[in-house]
């Protein structure tokens, strides 16, 4: 897959809410390929960073976020998986078909492709069930299928496995790696260090709203540069 919207360059991006600075200033680049894991303690700004990149947070004046194509077009070519998957009050099949339908695919074509995706994530048997009755693991897999169905060039995931057990996490990771191999740029946050070790190509370590480190995974886990990252990896409580 040709990735046209990346690299993404971010310069002096700041997010403030009610006078409090939640994030930034952040200056970074998101490369064309890769699987980046965003790590950091609770409240560090992981979610805010992902939402900012995805265009769901209002940036304070002065910062810039530059895609390779106009922002409006770039918005349509990315997807987001939330920590608590949002299930629409429809069948599982229609949940997955929804992004296609809103982007001009006919209902029958969309359903056809959605059922292929349900098959891929192992939810074929639940196609006609209401999405709201699915289990936590099933919901998150459904959310992943729904995010991937339009073949986004970049996929953001905000702690998607935070509420999943081991088996569901493994299934989810397998699906995610497949998407990555198919050419989707992945940026995912987690505070599960084991998961980060399994998946990461590079790690962004965030603390107090700043990106302290942005290094290849091997290097990060072997010798973190900052004392905060070292403490975080050692399992100490970072404040």
């Amino acid at each position: 897959m040709v990735n046209e919207i990346l690299p993404l360059s971010v310069k002096d991006a700041v997010v403030r809410r009610r006078g409090k600075t939640l994030l930034g200033p952040v200056t970074t680049t998101v490369s064309e390929t890769g699987l980046s894991i965003v790590m950091g303690p609770n409240g560090a700004g992981k979610t805010t960073l992902l939402r900012l990149l995805h265009g769901m947070e209002r940036m304070a004046p002065g910062g810039t976020i530059d895609w390779q194509i106009p922002e409006e077009e770039a918005r349509a070519r990315q997807a987001f998986v939330f920590q608590a998957p949002i299930m629409m009050r429809r069948t599982a099949l229609d949940n997955v078909a929804y992004p296609l339908v809103t982007h001009g695919v006919s209902k029958s074509d969309a359903r056809q492709r959605a059922s292929e995706w349900l098959e891929r994530v192992g939810l074929s048997d639940s196609a006609q069930k209401q999405a709201t009755v699915l289990s936590g693991g099933e919901r998150q897999k459904l959310a992943l299928a729904r995010a991937l169905i339009r073949k986004p060039e970049i996929l953001f995931l905000d702690e998607p496995c935070a509420n999943l057990d081991g088996r569901a996490t493994r299934e989810f990771e397998t699906l995610l790696m497949q998407a990555f191999k198919d050419g989707t740029r992945v940026v995912m946050s987690t505070h599960d260090i084991g998961q980060a070790r399994r998946l990461a190509e590079d790690v962004w370590f965030i603390h107090h709203g700043h990106i302290l480190e942005q290094t290849p995974a091997e290097e990060f886990f072997a010798s973190p540069k900052t004392s905060e990252a070292r403490a975080f990896l050692n399992g100490d409580i970072v404040e």
């Binding site: 939330f82 429809r90 809103t102 709201t132």
Partner: protein
Amino acid sequence: MNELLAGLLEAGRLIVTFDADLIEISLRSLQVTLTAVAIASGIGLPLGCWLAVRRFRYRRFVIATLNALMGLPPVVVGLIVYLMLSRAGPFGVFGLLFTPTAMIIAQVIILTPLIASIAHQAIRELWAQYHDLLISMNTTRWQRILTLLWDGRRALMTASLAGFGRGIGEVGAIMIVGGNIDNATRVLTTAISLETGKGNFSLALALGFVLIGLAVVVNLLIHTLSRTEVSGRW
């Protein structure tokens, strides 16, 4: 107590014998209120949804006004519609006063704020749930509204049914603009009012029971048709 019993018996007799007058005024009640509910829903449901999704300057004010209008006194609405439609009024030329159309107009005015307000409450909750997802998926505002209307359809049906409940039992406005004319604008509620005034309690009660029965039947019918409460959750 005797009157209640007599009223029940009379109601049974009127229904069993397919009393022509009863059927006529019942059908007119249904026709007026169902038409008014349909029109008011057509305006109120999208309006409520739009108010939930759209942020604009006087939004709070509009919603507060809408909620206040839920308690609009029917008699006053009737009076105003009467003045508008009377010969001397701005719409007098259409000759609508004392017709079922005038009654529908008055009921639409009463029901629209009620339906819009309930719809707004329901859709606001759904929107809070869907907000991030629909924004993330880059949907247009129009798509969001359609999605919320469709996925919130059960809650919206409740809004319409509440409108129906208020409309079918309403007497103040339709009495004024309809005039309770036999064979033309008499409906169940105005007939009850008239029979009570004449001291004809058993007939009035009979009509009352028919009215209640009608409201229950319509509600049940709509629930059955839309298959609510069949599957555990929606």
